[in-house]
Point group: C2
Chain length 338, copies 2
C-alpha cells in the first residue's frame, strides 16, 4: 500500500463530514489512496439467464457508479459522500433491488430499507419499511448528519422525510414490470407451498458500497427492497447496523447481501470487523469464515469489505454477485459471475 | 466453577429447544450449574426519589421473577424457557418500561420492541413497534421457534401475532397513569425545547434476562417500550440483534439497557461477545470497555452478561440499574443502586 505523507493546508476538511475534532489550521495529514467497491446483490445469477445485452446494462451502471464515487474521493470528497452518491445511482436504476427497482412485498408494496455508517466515529443511521422515499440512502444520510436518531421505521420514517424535505414520490414510481411479474410468480408459489418461507430467493438483490477517502476514513452503505413477497413487516439485515452494514476505521467497512435472517443471526458485518480487528484475520479469511457460518445455517449471499490500508475483498457463496471495485492503484474490476 | 460430569438418560432433551442434532439415545453430558440474571433498566434511578415502599415493590418483582426462572433451570428447563418466563413476569408488571408498563410514544401509543436469542445456534427473533401484543417476548419466542423470520415490525408483526394466536390486548391495556404523566411532561418539554432529542431520558427502562441452563446453553432476551415521547417510528437497540441482545455459547449472553442509539453504533452486545471470545477479555473488562465507548458518545446505560462457566457481570454507567442474579452456587443478589 503506497500512501503519501505530505503537508496540506486544511482550510476546510470537506463538507458535512467535517467534525469539531478536525483542526482548521495547518497540519500534517497522512493521505490515503482512495478505494471504492460496490455490489448490486448476490444470488443464483447464472439462473437468471441474462442475455449479453442485459449483462452489459448491469456492467454499465456499476461502472458509471464506481467512476462517480471514485471521482468524489480523488477530488477530496468524503467516503460518506462517495457511498451516498454510488448508492443513489444504483437506487435510481430499475435494474437493482433498491429504490426504483425494489421488489414487491406480500401486500404489493415496495418497502425499502437502507443504512449508512461512518467508520471514523461509528455515526450511523438506518430506516426500515419506507414506501415513498425516492432515495432511502439520502434519508439515512440526513438522519445521521442532522438528528440524534439512528433507526427509524415505517410511516414514522416517512414523516421524518416529509418534515425534512427529503424527496418523496408516489409509490407508483417504484413499479417495474419485471418486479411485478416476480411478485405474481411468488404469490402463486406461496399459494401452492403454503409455508412461511420468503419465496423467490434466487432473485436476492440489495445494493451496497464501501469507500476509503484521502483522509483515511471508511464508510459503508446498503439499500434494498428486501425479498419479493415478504410478509409481516419483515426487516432484513441491510438496516441492521452490525448485520448488513458496519464501518470502523480500526477494522473494516462492510456491506452484505443475501438472506438477511442468517446475516442478522451472526451479526455478519460486525463479526467480520471483529475477526479483522481482534483476531487479526485477513479480510478474505474473515469474510470466508463468516460466510461459512452463514452457509451452515443454510443461508447464502455475499459481502464487500475494505480496510484503511486499501485492502479489499468481495466474497460470495452464490453463482454470482454484481460487483465492482476501483483499487488504490486506480485499477478497475466490474464483474457478475465467479 | 464446579461442574458435574455424569451420565444421564436423555429421553428428551427438553421442550421446544430440542434440535435434530441432539441424540435421543444415552450419552455422556456435562452438566452445568444454572445461573440467571435480569435487569429492569438503568438510568438516573437516584433521581427518581423512590420511597422505601416503592423500592420494595421493584425488589419483590425482580426477586420473584428470578426465582421462577431459576426453578425452571434447576428442573432441567432450557435457558430460553427461563428467559421467556422471567421477562413475561416483568412485562406483566406495571413497574417496568416493557409490556404493561411501557412508556408512550410521541403519538401517545405504546410501541413495544423485544428480542430473544439462543446461544447454542444463534437462532433469534425480534419485533419492533407492536402495540397490541400482550407479551412481546412470547411473540419473539414463537417467531424464533416456528418461522423462518427473524425481525418483524409494526402492523405486520401484529398480523403475525394474530395469525398464530399470540395473545393480543386492546392498546388501553398498556395505559398506566405514571407513564401518561411522564408523556405529558415530555410533550411539554419538547414544545419548549423544540429540538429533536428524545426527552425524559432519565426514565430509561427496558427489561432483560440472561440464563445458563444445565445443558450449557446460554440465552438472552430483552423487552422495552423504548423512550417516552419517541418519534418517527424510532427503533432502539433492544430488538437489534447484536446491539441490545446477543447470545453465543462460545462467548456470552448479553442484554443491554440505555440510550439505544449509542448501543447500536458500537453493536454493544456483539462487541462484548467479540471481546470475550476473540480478545479473551474478562466479562468485566469487556463490558467496561464497551460502556466506556458508549459514554464517549455521550450515551449511558448498562448490560448484564453471562458466560457458559457461570461467570456473570452486571455493569452500568448510571446512578443505578434494577438488577438481580442467582449464581451457580445459588446465591442471590437483587439491587437497585450502586
Amino acid at each position: 500500500m503506497k500512501n503519501l505523507l505530505f503537508v496540506i493546508i486544511v482550510l476546510c476538511l470537506s463538507c458535512s463530514d467535517s467534525a469539531s475534532d478536525k483542526s482548521k489550521t495547518e497540519q500534517v495529514v497522512k493521505e490515503f489512496l482512495p478505494v471504492i467497491a460496490l455490489h448490486g446483490g448476490a444470488g443464483d445469477l447464472k439462473g437468471l439467464n441474462l442475455t449479453p445485452a442485459e449483462e452489459q446494462q448491469y456492467l454499465i451502471v456499476m461502472d458509471s457508479a464506481l467512476h462517480v464515487g471514485y471521482q468524489i474521493l480523488v477530488n477530496g470528497g468524503s467516503s460518506l459522500d462517495a457511498v451516498e452518491s454510488v448508492i443513489k445511482i444504483m437506487e435510481d436504476s430499475p435494474l437493482f433491488n433498491a429504490g426504483r427497482g425494489a421488489v414487491f412485498s406480500h401486500e404489493g408494496k415496495n418497502e425499502l430499507d437502507a443504512a449508512i455508517m461512518n467508520g471514523r466515529n461509528q455515526d450511523c443511521a438506518a430506516v426500515a419499511g419506507v414506501t415513498i422515499v425516492k432515495n432511502p440512502i439520502q434519508l439515512v444520510r440526513h438522519i445521521m448528519d442532522s438528528s440524534r436518531f439512528v433507526f427509524l421505521s415505517g410511516e414514522g420514517a416517512e414523516q421524518y422525510a416529509t418534515d425534512y424535505k427529503i424527496p418523496t414520490v408516489d409509490p407508483s414510481y417504484f413499479f417495474t414490470q419485471k418486479r411485478w411479474d416476480q411478485y405474481q410468480e411468488a404469490l402463486k408459489e406461496d399459494k401452492e407451498k403454503l409455508d412461511h418461507s420468503p419465496s423467490s430467493e434466487k432473485k436476492m438483490g440489495t445494493v451496497g458500497c464501501v469507500a476509503l477517502d484521502r483522509y483515511g476514513n471508511l464508510a459503508a452503505g446498503t439499500s434494498t427492497g428486501g425479498i419479493t413477497n415478504k410478509k409481516y413487516g419483515r426487516i432484513g439485515d441491510s438496516p441492521v447496523i452490525g448485520a448488513g452494514t458496519y464501518a470502523d476505521n480500526d477494522g473494516v467497512a462492510v456491506s452484505c447481501t443475501g438472506r438477511g435472517e442468517d446475516f442478522i443471526k451472526v451479526a455478519a458485518a460486525h463479526e467480520i470487523n471483529s475477526l479483522v480487528k481482534y483476531k487479526k484475520k485477513s479480510l478474505k479469511d474473515a469474510v470466508e469464515k463468516t460466510l461459512k457460518e452463514i452457509v451452515s445455517k443454510k443461508g447464502r449471499g455475499g459481502c464487500i469489505v475494505l480496510d484503511q490500508k486499501g485492502n479489499y475483498y468481495l466474497g460470495f457463496t452464490t453463482s454470482g454477485m454484481f460487483r465492482g471495485v476501483i483499487d488504490a492503484q486506480g485499477n478497475k474490476l466490474v464483474k457478475i459471475y465467479e
